[in-house]
């Protein structure tokens, strides 16, 4: 992954930090609906490789994104503790993010976010907590890619 500079917002945002493979990422905690265990999914035809399939969340059908594949990170092998973070975008689209482990929460100042490349739109930037490097995931662009993929079919 390339890491470059980019401007960002300045308010403190509470983020949830999770691990995918050996790397850590975070998303705003307000976009998280719930966290649940990984369960069997229904495979969807013609789906992009990072979509593991669809699950039923209390009557709502949503798709799971395997973040390891999406972010091109080698996943932890045989991790029984993989969890699904159910998120909702500002447009009300819901999906599940399959991650290896939820670590903790952190208050992150927008000014602390160091921008990375423009072409990697799903990653908004990097932030340092202590000596850990954490990627700030751009939820909206992930979700939009999921919904608008129909055009590409």
């Amino acid at each position: 992954m390339t890491e470059e500079e980019k401007a960002a917002e300045s308010k403190a945002v509470k983020m949830i930090v999770f691990a995918v493979g050996d790397q850590e990422y975070c998303i705003p905690i307000l976009s998280v609906r719930e966290i649940r265990g990984f369960e069997k999914t229904t495979v969807l035809p013609f789906a992009p490789p990072y979509v593991c399939g669809a699950i039923n969340l209390r009557g709502i059908i949503l798709t799971l994104i395997d973040l390891a594949i999406y972010l091109n990170v080698p996943p932890q092998a045989d991790n029984p503790r993989r969890v699904v973070v159910i998120v909702e975008s500002t447009q009300g689209v819901m999906c599940g993010l399959l991650v290896d482990r939820v670590i903790d929460m952190a208050d992150i100042q927008g000014s602390d976010i160091q921008s990375v490349s423009d072409d990697c739109s799903s990653l908004g930037g990097l932030v340092m907590i202590g000596d850990r490097m954490i990627g700030v995931l751009q939820l909206e662009s992930v979700v939009n890619q999921l919904v608008e993929g129909a055009v590409a079919e």
Partner: protein, 754 residues
Amino acid sequence: MSGDMGDILLVFFQECDEQLQELERGLSALSDGESEQETINAVFRAVHSIKGGAASFGLENLVRFAHVFESSLDGVRSGRVAPTQDIVKIFLKAMDVLSDLVVEARDGGPTVDPGRVAESQAELEFIIGSNGEAPKTDDIVPSDFVPVPMDFVPVPVDFEPVPVDFGLDFGFDAAPGQPPAPLIVTFCPHDAMYARGDDARNILIGLTDAAVAVEGEITVTCDVSTLPSFAELEPDRSYLSWRVVLPAEVSEDTVQSVFDWGGDVCDFTISREGEPAPDGGEAVPAMEAQPPGEGSQAAAPPEPALPAVPETSSSSGVAAAQVVPAASPAVAPAPAAGGANAAPVRRTEQATIRVDLPRIDNLMDLVGELVIAQAALESQCRRANASMPRELGESIASMQSLTRDIQDAVMAVRAQPVRSVFQRMQRVVREACSMTKKDVVLTLEGEDTEVDRTLVEKLSDPLTHMLRNAIDHGIEKVEDRLAAGKSAVGQILLSASHRSGHILITIKDDGGGINRERVLATAIKRGIVAPDAVLTDDEINNLIFAPGFSTADTVSNLSGRGVGMDVVKQAILSLGGRVTIQSVPGSGTVFCLSLPLTLAVLDGMLIVAGGATMVIPVSSVVETMIIKPQDTYVLPDGKKMVSIRGDCIPMVPLGSQLGLSAYVSDEPQNGAVMLIVENESGARVGLVVDEIRDQAHVVIKSMEKNYRRIPGVSAATILGDGSVSLILDAPALIASAVGRINTKVSDARAVLAA
């Protein structure tokens, strides 16, 4: 317009729809020869409420027409005009105009042809004129009620008493031994009343109605003492107040209801003569403000205030002590009968609440989850404890039946009687009749049959098409009917009923039936069938559904363009239904539509392909069969065809078609199951699946809400074990499988033309 006002307007239009339905129901009852006073009152009330609401929103056109309509109905209400068939027909026509005017006011859509309005208005005025009296409401009060700043002498306005027999009496008018004194009402409008477009005149009209209802009259005195000289007069201030003496028979409640509408913007007192008027003129504080809907309802002519209603004594102010709940012996029989009559009739009016559909959908989802959670609980209990205590088993079983009941109840909430659509068809028939100069009576049956809301809305177009066709093509001209020994008036029966989880709608006419020779000749001429084709009667009947088919020699406004019946069939098929025709030459045609009860639930076949369980709508599966190796043929490009009783159709391995073939070999094994699926135009494809597992009613869930469209998949559902399953889109699968040859593949009955 502010958001608030928009909301109120929305409520008004929703109520207009309800009132129009009420009106339609009442008028059709009248045309069936029923002349119950309560029916006439209901009709009158409906028009009056629309007028009242429209007046407060300044919908000029609507008010003007509704007023004429109301005045003419008043003739019937008072018994001066008998509701003969001709009169009712005029009313029905007026109702159509009225509903168009409502639509015009709501959508700002196409303006109603002023000629039509004027014509209907003239007919209504003729009814008014025929009773020998001028339309009353307008003449009661001077039309210009603006305070005139000259020497204004209070003029008692002469209200002409119009005898109206309500067939009812108010049970509290004659307290034994103590006849009540005339009722005195004083009111003084605030500036706010005029500011919001209301008028003291409306209150006077309401009071007059109250008096007329008991065959009395009112005396009005206008108090101009606060009126300043012309120089100081501010045009937008309110200066006048009124004192109205009503007949003793009028109850306080009735008067109170007059003020429901404007009571919050005027001071008013209600008292009996001889009693001290409540001081300050604030006997009833301005807290009676009600939502406009209720208000306009309440402003309707006095409703039978049932004596037993406890409110009678609690809310009617000072004079309440005199109100004896039970009627005096002298008048007892009449009010008792009236009350008993009125009560059940009133109760049949729809008592409804409006709920947003998404809320019910949400409820539905939750109940679905409840069922799944319940099943999971049961299976876990069994697994953990093979010898499950009997009590536990019983409570789980009772919970199971409860959840099923809840599921059914939620489905029932979504259901709506087909009445709203059926009643609209009366209008379609009327219009079609006047265009074709035929006389047809539409009889409705089973309007109370309930189907899912979503479906009710989609029934309207196909039914309209079919009824127009029945009138244009089915019912013969009057001369032909008489020659055939039939009555001059055509009969069409539109009925709905439930049959084994479906709704069955039949349209039966007593016309000439389908002229099969002509249909066949036309079909051959238009190249729909080959000239030498041999078709059964049933196949010929079904030709009328072929695209581009029309036997009409001339294209009329109604039908004959050859779009229509094929559109109907498409519409019905897209709703997951089927159409069948039975026709007997000379005695009529019956169209039967069989439709699912809901669009939210689908009758599906559970199949397994490529390792995944999927659902295919049963309605698109024609047959299922085991593939025999000798029936298959491999094309040079690797695709396979299979012959079924002589027809060669493409064979599609479903798993690999959907890109799910990773789990199983690409080769369809011998003995695999094949589903023959058909699309609307009759193209067929054999879908090869691993297994047919079950048949189930599944709840349809959108895939596109949180994901994207998947080719070949129409939606998804949740199975009993909580897992997600895809619902296949058979027409899309067929289209992608047969591609360009789609149009060439046709079934046996429509033999290829070339």
